[in-house]
Amino acid sequence: MADTSRVTLPAPAPMVSQVTMLRVAIILTVLAVWEFLSRSGWLYRDVVPSLLAIGRALIDLLTHGDYYFNLAVTAGEVGAALAIGGSLGLIVGIALGANRFLSKAFESYLYYLGPTPKIIFFPIMIMWFGVGPGSKIALGTLSCFFPVALSAAAGMRQIDKTLIKVGRSFRATTMQMVFKIYLPAMRHPIINGVRLGLGVALIGTLLAETKLSNKGIGFLIIQAYSIFDMPRMYAMLIILFILSIGANSLVGHFGGLDNIKRS
C-alpha cells in the first residue's frame, strides 16, 4: 500500500541513492539500445547514427566559431522578442488586472488567442518586417506577449487586498504603490509568465528560422536536414534542448528561490 502515499520529496539518500542508480541505468540502457540499433543496420541508414558519430558531431560543432555566431544571432532575436513582448504583455496585463471593465471587455480575446499556433503568422511577419531577423523577433514577440499578459493580469487580481490597504494607510504615492507593493506582490505570476513566454518565444523564433533565414540555430538545423547530416542534427538538437531547459530553470530559479524562502 506504500504506493498510495504522497510522493513529493525524494527519499533521504545514502551514498548513491537508488534513484540515481535507476537514472544511470535508464540512460545506459537507452544508449546501449541506440548503439545496438545503429550497428544492426535494421533501420534506414543514418536515422540512428552511432553514438560515436554523434559525439564527433558534437565536438565538431562546439569547436567551430560558426556555431557560436549562429547561437548569438538566435539568442539576440529571442532576447529582443522577450524584451518587447514581455514588456508589452506586462503593461497590458497590469491594465487588465487593475480594471474590471477592461478585463471583461478584452481578456477573453487574449485567453483564446493565446494558445493559437503563432507560426502561421510568419508570412504576415515577413511582409511587415522583411526576411531578416525582424520577422523572427516579431514572431517571438507575438508568441510571448500572451502568456506574460495573462499571467500578469491574473497576478494583479490575486494581490492581497490587505497589503494594498497597508500601503494606502502609510500614504504611499502611486509610484511607491507600484514599485513597493504591486510589483513585488506579483513577482511569482510574473516570473512564471516570463518563463512561459521565454519558452514560446524560443519556439517561435527557431521555427521561423527553419522556415526562412540564412543564420541562426533554426537555420543550422534545417541546413543539416537538407544535406542529410543526421549526426550534426542530433548534436544540434541535444545542445538546443540543454540550453533551453537550462534557460527555463534559470528563470524559474529566481521564482523558485522566492518560493522556498519567502512563501
Partner: protein, 276 residues
C-alpha cells in the same frame, strides 16, 4: 448621550458620522450618527457584535473609506484620506512576504525617504520593543501568526502615529497567544503613552486593556454606551481573575447580549430568506 462624549482637548473627534452603503437590496446604514472622542494617551476600545459597523468605523477613521455625513478630526485636522497621525494595524495577515522583518518594519520610514542606516536603526528599536530581537532577518513565512502580527504592530509603531488604530489585531490567533500578545500591547502602550483605539468583539480583551469602552448597537451601528474602566494600571492579563474585572465584563455583556441576539435573529431571518 451627547454631552460627555467629546471634549475640545480630544485628539480624535468623531462627530455625528454616518456611513451608508448602496447594495442591490437597497441602502444600508452601517454607521448611524456616531459621535465620540479619544483623549490624549488613553486606551479606548470600540466593542460590538459582528455586523455593528465597527470595521466600517475603523476604515473611516483610517481614511480608507469615505463617510456619508458628519466629520472626523484628528489633531484638529479633518480626515479625508489616510492621515499621518493615525497608524493602522489590520486584522488580516498584512506583513509583506517578500521583505524580512527589518524591511517590513522599516517600510513606512522608507516611504518618507529616511536614509537606510537611520531607518534600519529605527526599525531595530521597534522590533526589540515588540520582543522580536533575533528575528530581524527572518521572512514572515518563517514566523508564527502571533509573531507576524507583532511585526505589523512594530511597522505601524515605527511610523510614530499619534493614534494607534487597531482592528481586531488578535482575532486570527489562538487564545493563549492572544492573551500574551495583549500583555505585550498593554506594556508597549503604557511605555510609549500611546493613544490607542482598539476595535474588538472580545469583552475580556477590551476590559483588560481599556480606559474606556464604547459599546455599539447592532445594525445600524450607534453608540449604545461608554463605560469607564476603573482598574489599576499597570495591568497585565493577571487582572482577568479579579472581582472588579468580572463586574465590568458582566456589565458589558449585559449590554452586548441584547445586541448580539438581535444580530443573530436578523442573520437567521436572512438565511431563511435566502433559502426560500
Amino acid at each position: 448621550m451627547n454631552a460627555p462624549l467629546q471634549n475640545p482637548s480630544d485628539i480624535l473627534v468623531v462627530d455625528d458620522v454616518v456611513v451608508r452603503f448602496d447594495t442591490p437590496e437597497g441602502a444600508v446604514t452601517a454607521v448611524d450618527h456616531v459621535s465620540f472622542g479619544v483623549r490624549q494617551g488613553e486606551f479606548l476600545s470600540v466593542i460590538g457584535p459582528s455586523g455593528c459597523g465597527k470595521s466600517t468605523l475603523f476604515n473611516v477613521i483610517g481614511g480608507l473609506l469615505g463617510h456619508t455625513s458628519g466629520t472626523a478630526n484628528v489633531a484638529g485636522e479633518t480626515i479625508n484620506g489616510p492621515h499621518p497621525s493615525i497608524g493602522m494595524v489590520f486584522q488580516e495577515e498584512s506583513t509583506f512576504p517578500w521583505r524580512n522583518v527589518t524591511d517590513n518594519v522599516a517600510f513606512p520610514l522608507e516611504l518618507i525617504g529616511m536614509p537606510k542606516a537611520q531607518r534600519i536603526e529605527r526599525a531595530r528599536h521597534f522590533i526589540s520593543l515588540v520582543g522580536l530581537d533575533g528575528f530581524e532577518n527572518r521572512y514572515p513565512n518563517e514566523l508564527s501568526g502571533g509573531m507576524r502580527q507583532r511585526v505589523s504592530l512594530a511597522r505601524t509603531l515605527a511610523s510614530e502615529p499619534k493614534i494607534l488604530l487597531m482592528d481586531e489585531p488578535f482575532a486570527a490567533l489562538d487564545e493563549q497567544t492572544r492573551l500574551l500578545l495583549g500583555d505585550k500591547v498593554l506594556q508597549i502602550q503604557q511605555q510609549l503613552k500611546q493613544t490607542t483605539l482598539l476595535i474588538t468583539h472580545n469583552i475580556t480583551e477590551a476590559v483588560q486593556m481599556s480606559d474606556r469602552i464604547l459599546v455599539m448597537t447592532y445594525r445600524p451601528g450607534k453608540v449604545k454606551r461608554i463605560v469607564d474602566i476603573d482598574l489599576p494600571r499597570p495591568r497585565t492579563s493577571d487582572i482577568v481573575g479579579s472581582e472588579a474585572f468580572g463586574r465590568y465584563v458582566a456589565q458589558i455583556w449585559a449590554d452586548l447580549r441584547e445586541e448580539a441576539s438581535r444580530g443573530m435573529r436578523d442573520e437567521e431571518k436572512t438565511m431563511m430568506g435566502a433559502k426560500s
